[in-house]
Symmetry: C2
Subunit: 385 residues, 2 copies
């Protein structure tokens, strides 16, 4: 049984890629990762994606990508867990190396959302929740999160200026990142004056509809050593499911899957949360960042917005989060996001994060959710030596 | 690193399940498998499915099923490889046991096709091929297979009466199977007089549009021994991708992915093709059965239709195939098919195949394809002792 390492990463800029297809995006990110390690030929291709079928009439993305890269004969398939598809795909790459069934896995996350108008994109995202009930009654993915946002604010008396700390942080970090969608820092005023899209969630609380692809080469220990580069281990890879929809849960503000996945990941990696140097957290909305950080024990109940406002999560703060902008700033091409996060964590712990470098970062954690904490994955990356 | 075993299986009857939802079907099959081993609580849920998104506006099936089974906290996700989704899902269950990341995995394949009219179902199946080119020019999944059927007949001079041997065999075996869709044996005359749906493919050469779900519990060696039942090992699990579309391939009649997956699986299991007691082969169309059997070396080029006509593949023949009817007779709920096949192989090697029992079956092989041999998986099940 081998340990798994990230050997290289590739990312398209997140944005509105009107002139690039699903395949173009996957190939661009994958070739970046592969060209960084020309001696390695992937022996498996795993694609993370949520709605290429409903959105682009395209399935079988695993073989589609493998074929385009001329990797005939390798295992190839797509892994889906709504907006958590990317993290679940990375998990599968990790599994196949750990099982000694692969030496070098190409994991690629991709989503092409902008080809859909807002109504269709909203409908596609709502597929993360039950068609029979949640979609039927007209709830959308945004409105479910708006319910938790309202509950959260009511329970803890959080000011909207404090919640605004998350998008402000995201845009600030994104401004200096190569692959991010948004390059303009925003202020608390910008957030609280932005239009409400599902009360109380405002436009600037929400990650954007966008296109993008990210890729990783995950290799076994032998291959990683051969490369002679810095060794970045996938020290833990955990996925956890929650009760499917928020109205089934005893406490919708308790991200049970986040807590389970983060707890198991920290235990497997032998790391305490205080030893993590930064976290890429799933800020699909401001409230999801707050609830995730609180459910994994980073902040006390109702405290995460205060922590972000006080600067605790800044790049030079005690525990930086979303170091390249997170879902709000870098962008959230849903099925790709979990792969972007792990790629970003790799850049941080290997010291390749350029202007977004967290000084001395050695251990990083990523947190990716499908639905409202319904399929949640947590990865811990650790630099050896 | 543990070996992987099939502990139990569950299958809905394949058919037209107008009154059962995707979730109903998954739960029915899963509870059958789980109730057969009440001492086992799955620690992972993997769903194989092709087009729940485009077909039923439903994604995140992994967590959907896990939640309904009250398996909160376990890893859960969907695996997709078009009509090969089921086999790819089984492969992932195998990987997670082999990686010692799971002790008991629930793998469920499901597809609900009948809710779509024929046009929409045809469009959904066409997502297995390129939206940008193949779908754009109006080719369907059936017409691609019709091209290979025409090439095959021309190259080898196969009579349509010989090709008809596959559906005749499928219906004969399905007639005595509990979970099959079709219960009426058919004749060669029935096949060659049935309407042409994409020249030269006739209605009776084609597997049906249908609904169904199948489930497996895949456990590690320790759990399998605890159960004290017959030990059925997943002796090999291989997935292989081919060049994406048939017009890119040097020889469209050479199922390269089938050959690769079968070759590797036999090598890993340490079994020669002549030692396999039966094969569940992906007869989406008569021609795919023929080409698959020839590509895996069971029949010589152009010989498979003659072999089936001569009775070589009958239940009491030299090498039985599609022992419960295959895709044509049992039915082909696409993302579920690969799981049905492995469940059927389990029934055979464990001696639980009732009226469809292959006498003395100990080693069985299953073959599941997404697209035209684009994402192909091969599993070998072997009874120990």
């Amino acid at each position: 049984m081998s340990r798994a390492y990230v050997a290289s990463v590739g990312m398209t800029q997140v944005g509105e890629h009107w002139r690039k297809s699903l395949l173009d995006l996957m190939v661009e990110a994958s070739l970046q990762a592969m060209n960084a390690c020309p001696s390695i030929v992937p022996d498996r291709v795993i694609v993370g994606n949520m709605f290429s079928g409903a959105g682009s009439n395209q399935e079988q993305l695993g073989a589609y990508l493998a074929s385009q890269l001329n990797l005939v004969g390798v295992p190839a398939y797509k892994v889906e867990g709504a907006c958590g598809s990317g993290g679940a795909a990375v998990h599968n790459g990790y599994l196949s190396v750990k099982a000694d069934e692969s030496e070098a896995v190409l994991v690629c996350g991709v989503e092409k959302m902008k080809d859909l108008d807002v109504g269709r994109a909203t409908a596609a995202l709502a597929m993360a929740d039950s068609a029979e009930y949640t979609q039927f009654v007209g709830a959308t993915f945004i409105s479910l999160n708006a319910l938790t946002h309202a509950m959260y604010v009511k329970k803890h008396g959080v000011a909207k200026e404090e919640m605004a700390g998350f998008p402000v942080l995201g845009h600030r970090n994104a401004a200096s990142a190569r692959h991010s969608m948004f390059k303009r820092p925003i202020t608390v005023e910008d957030v609280i004056r932005s239009p409400i899209i599902s009360d109380p969630i405002r436009l600037m609380d929400s990650s954007p509809i966008c296109d993008g692809a990210a890729a990783l080469l995950i290799v076994n220990e032998r291959k990683a050593k051969e490369l002679g580069d810095v060794m970045v281990e996938v020290a833990a890879s955990e996925v956890a499911a929650n009760l499917f929809t928020i109205y089934e849960r005893p406490d919708p503000l308790d991200y049970v899957a986040t807590r389970a996945a983060a707890g198991r990941a920290l235990a497997k990696a032998g790391v305490k949360i205080g030893q993590v140097d930064f976290i890429e957290v799933h800020d699909a909305f401001s409230v999801t960042a707050a609830l995730a950080l609180e459910s994994m024990g980073v902040s006390g109940p109702g405290q995460a917005p205060k922590d972000v406002t006080k600067g605790r999560f800044n790049l030079d703060g005690e525990l930086p989060i979303n170091t390249f902008g997170g879902l709000k700033g870098r962008g959230h091409p849903v099925g790709a996001t979990g792969v972007y996060q792990v790629a970003e964590a790799y850049l941080q712990v290997s010291g390749k994060a350029e202007r977004n470098q967290v000084k001395g970062a050695k251990v990083g954690m990523t947190h990716n959710m499908g639905g409202v904490d319904t399929t949640t994955s947590v990865h811990i990356l650790r630099r050896e030596g």
